[in-house]
């Protein structure tokens, strides 16, 4: 077998079998399962106290029934019970846990309903809000009947104004689509961000480990350092794809089996109802390109340090670049069409995240995406050629310092004048 493939497979298999990889994968799968089943989990915990009971002290005797009707339309989970004893006893019953809350209804001087809400704590705002909405509607009905308004007049009064957003650009996304895209892009941006940081780190550590354990010298006497570097980058890349595929498959099947809660639950807000295929394809493309860009950078930075402890220090500037790109992308989620986002999307170190953001959120012309990808690919090639030369010299260098001056020294080592 070709030595390139031997290194690639060796890197892939040893990492795949390593404890840390297995543990992080399992942990992430658990998180993915948890997230995709979040609706079920929320329901599970809600089941016990599903119905919230409220004791009603109706001083007038004519407010209870209308309020019950109003509330039935708002939240069926709230159960109202008329309470015949006095206020003190009702408060005791709430304290004892017989009721979740207590509401006292009466009419004020203008003959409009008003109420006092009492509960053990007022942390649960949703119950209060629902009751408030019901009361508000009740009050409106009372007031309207006092003014002798008909139901039809009332409906007209409360009809929401007709106000639509329309984008003039032909392919621009509708507001609804934009919201959906935002959720998906947000999610995929996170994956790109974490994967790039994690796997670039892994490569730098791998190179530094081989160097500090001095096994490097044997390796480079068997196989050219450039071949090694790319075999390693591809091996770890394969590993990252394996992990990604595991996550996506688990996520997909878990979502599919929860399709019901998925359609009108938590996930719908994030736009997972109908995932646009193109966005996923772009995500994979930018994931791979982003990985190659940062992996190449990490490999040559890793080749410059002599001790594992220095790796973090060496790759910090690189990590900051990734973080900066991610931050800008987060900002861009709200305003994807600002010139700042457009400009930064062409800066190759940001392209994988920001250009992806633009593709996912806006309908930008294809040439813009292609230009971004072309700049990115060109940068990867330049970095690979330059990085390979630094790597070749870097792996032979052992010294105390690990600064960027070493890049010059490493290049000098490979020169043959």
């Amino acid at each position: 077998m070709n030595s390139f493939w031997i290194i690639l497979l060796h890197t892939y298999l040893t990492k795949l079998k390593s404890k840390s990889f297995i543990i992080t994968t399992i942990l992430t799968v658990v998180i993915v399962l948890g997230l995709t089943n979040i609706q079920n989990i929320i329901n599970l915990f809600d089941k016990g106290g599903a119905k919230e009971t409220v004791a009603v002290l109706d001083e007038t005797g004519k407010l209870y029934e209308p309020l019950k009707q109003q509330l039935a339309a708002i939240n069926k989970e709230i159960k109202l019970t008329i309470y015949s004893h006095n206020e003190k006893e009702a408060e005791k019953a709430v304290a004892a846990g017989d009721f979740d809350a207590l509401i006292q209804l009466r009419l004020n001087q203008e003959q409009l309903p008003e109420a006092v809400f009492k509960a053990k704590s007022i942390a649960d705002t949703s119950l209060f809000t629902d009751l408030q909405t019901g009361l508000q509607q009740l009050k409106t009905t009372f007031a309207a009947s006092k003014l002798n308004l008909t139901q039809a007049q009332l409906t007209k009064l409360y009809e929401p104004v007709n106000f639509k957003k329309i984008a003039l650009e032909k392919n621009a996304k509708t507001e609804e689509e934009l919201n959906q895209a935002r959720g998906l892009v947000y999610f995929l941006l996170f994956i790109i961000y974490f994967a790039v940081i994690m796997y670039a780190n892994m490569i730098a550590m791998e190179v530094a480990t081989e160097k500090s354990s001095r096994v490097m010298e044997i390796l480079i006497s068997s196989v050219s350092p450039i071949k090694q570097m790319f075999a390693k980058i591809l091996g770890v890349g394969l590993l990252s794809l394996t992990q990604l595929v595991v996550f996506l498959l688990v996520g997909y099947y878990s979502l599919k089996s929860n399709m019901n809660s998925f359609q009108d639950g938590f996930w719908d807000v994030f736009g997972f109802g109908n995932v646009p295929v193109m966005t996923i394809i772009y995500a994979v493309v930018f994931f791979i390109l982003g990985y190659f860009l940062y992996a190449t950078l990490a490999a040559f930075l890793g080749s410059l340090v002599s001790r594992i402890e220095d790796v973090q220090q060496m790759i910090t500037p690189m990590t900051l670049l990734v973080v900066a790109g991610f931050m800008i992308a987060m900002f861009g989620l709200g305003k994807p069409d600002t010139p700042f986002i457009t400009i930064t999307s062409y800066f190759p170190f940001f392209t994988p995240m920001i250009m992806f953001l633009r593709v996912g959120m806006l309908s930008i012309p294809a040439w813009e995406t292609m230009l971004g990808i072309a700049i990115l690919v060109a940068t990867i090639i330049v970095l690979a050629i330059f990085g390979a030369r630094v790597y070749r010299g870097g792996v032979l260098m052992y010294g105390k310092s690990s600064s960027f001056k070493d890049i010059k020294k490493a290049l000098q080592l490979t020169k043959n004048e």
Partner: protein, 299 residues
């Protein structure tokens, strides 16, 4: 003409690590490569292995340049030992052997052979970090020779080993030589070089200061050692004509003299002065030659 270096020079910026080095290393022999620290030995090895490109000159093996396509012909034991600490002995030897063009089965068989030879077959499934330094070195040696290289480069193979392990490793090196391997090795311990090498080269600041067959080097050196043990004062001999250096010992004196005739004159001088328990004329040791050639320029 197995390995040939022609006017090889390596510069790092202003610094010249190897300066116009020309060597011929005969086939199926052990060639000793000596020099003080920083004399350019490791740089030369790295150029032979193709890890560094020479700034000038040529290196060839059987008339052809060495590069990665010939890496299965070459074995290398680096000065700084290095193996994957977390990998099992078998896994990493097989991995390194496959990179040198062996198949997995061949590598496993050879590994068994070598582990048996070093009487440590139980190490096959151990992680390298669990082994002692000396045993790690054996594994490192196996990694260098497992693919039966034609050219073997050993950078300080015996440093840090106990005498029993040194003997084991020496036997292994000699056996490889019998099987036709050309071996280049460097060492600071002169007696190893004297024992193993037919030809050698002493480097000094990137230049070869002594180069040739061991016997001829000794003959050309001319000076001899004279050991005298007697129960009368011998210190005055240090001013005797023809004596280069004198060093008093517990039982007498050790003299470095210019030639055999000086020994004769000294014998005549001291006969009758008292009882001479020992009077021995010896060939100079490599150590003497090394110190004279390399040490002189330190002063």
């Amino acid at each position: 003409m197995a390995l040939e270096l022609k006017h090889v020079t390596k510069r790092f910026g202003q610094f010249t690590a190897v300066d116009d080095l020309s060597l011929v290393i005969p086939e199926k022999e052990i060639f000793g490569f000596l020099g003080a620290n920083g004399a350019g030995k490791t740089t030369t090895f790295r150029m032979i292995l193709g890890l560094l490109d020479p700034s000038g000159g040529e290196i060839s093996w059987e008339g052809k340049p060495l590069n990665y396509s010939t890496s299965h012909l070459v074995g290398y034991l680096p000065e700084e030992r290095g193996l994957y600490p977390k990998l099992k002995v078998r896994d990493q030897i097989v991995y390194l052997a496959r990179l040198r063009g062996m198949t997995k089965n061949e590598a496993q068989q050879e590994l068994k052979f070598w582990l048996d030879r070093f009487r440590v077959p139980e190490y096959e499934n151990k992680k390298v970090e669990e082994l002692s330094k000396g045993n790690q070195q054996k594994i490192q040696f196996i990694a260098a020779v497992i693919h039966k290289p034609k050219l073997l480069i050993l950078d300080e193979p015996f440093s840090g080993l106990d005498p029993v392990n040194v003997e084991q490793l020496k036997d292994a090196v000699l056996a490889l030589k019998e099987n036709g391997t050309t071996i280049v090795f460097s060492s600071h311990q002169m007696h190893h070089v004297e024992e193993l090498c037919e030809h050698l080269c002493i480097m000094q600041k990137g230049k070869p200061v002594v180069h040739g067959a061991l016997k001829e080097i000794k003959r050309a050196f001319g000076k001899k050692n004279l050991i005298i043990h007697g129960d009368f004062p011998l210190e005055s001999l240090k001013d005797f004509p023809g004596v280069v250096k004198a060093k008093p010992t517990m039982e007498g004196i050790l003299l470095q003299i210019e030639g055999e005739s000086v020994a004769e004159a000294i014998l005549q001088e001291i006969v009758g002065k008292g009882f001479i328990r020992k009077f021995a004329l010896e060939e100079p040791s490599l150590n003497d030659i090394f110190i004279e050639k390399v040490g002189a320029s330190y002063e």
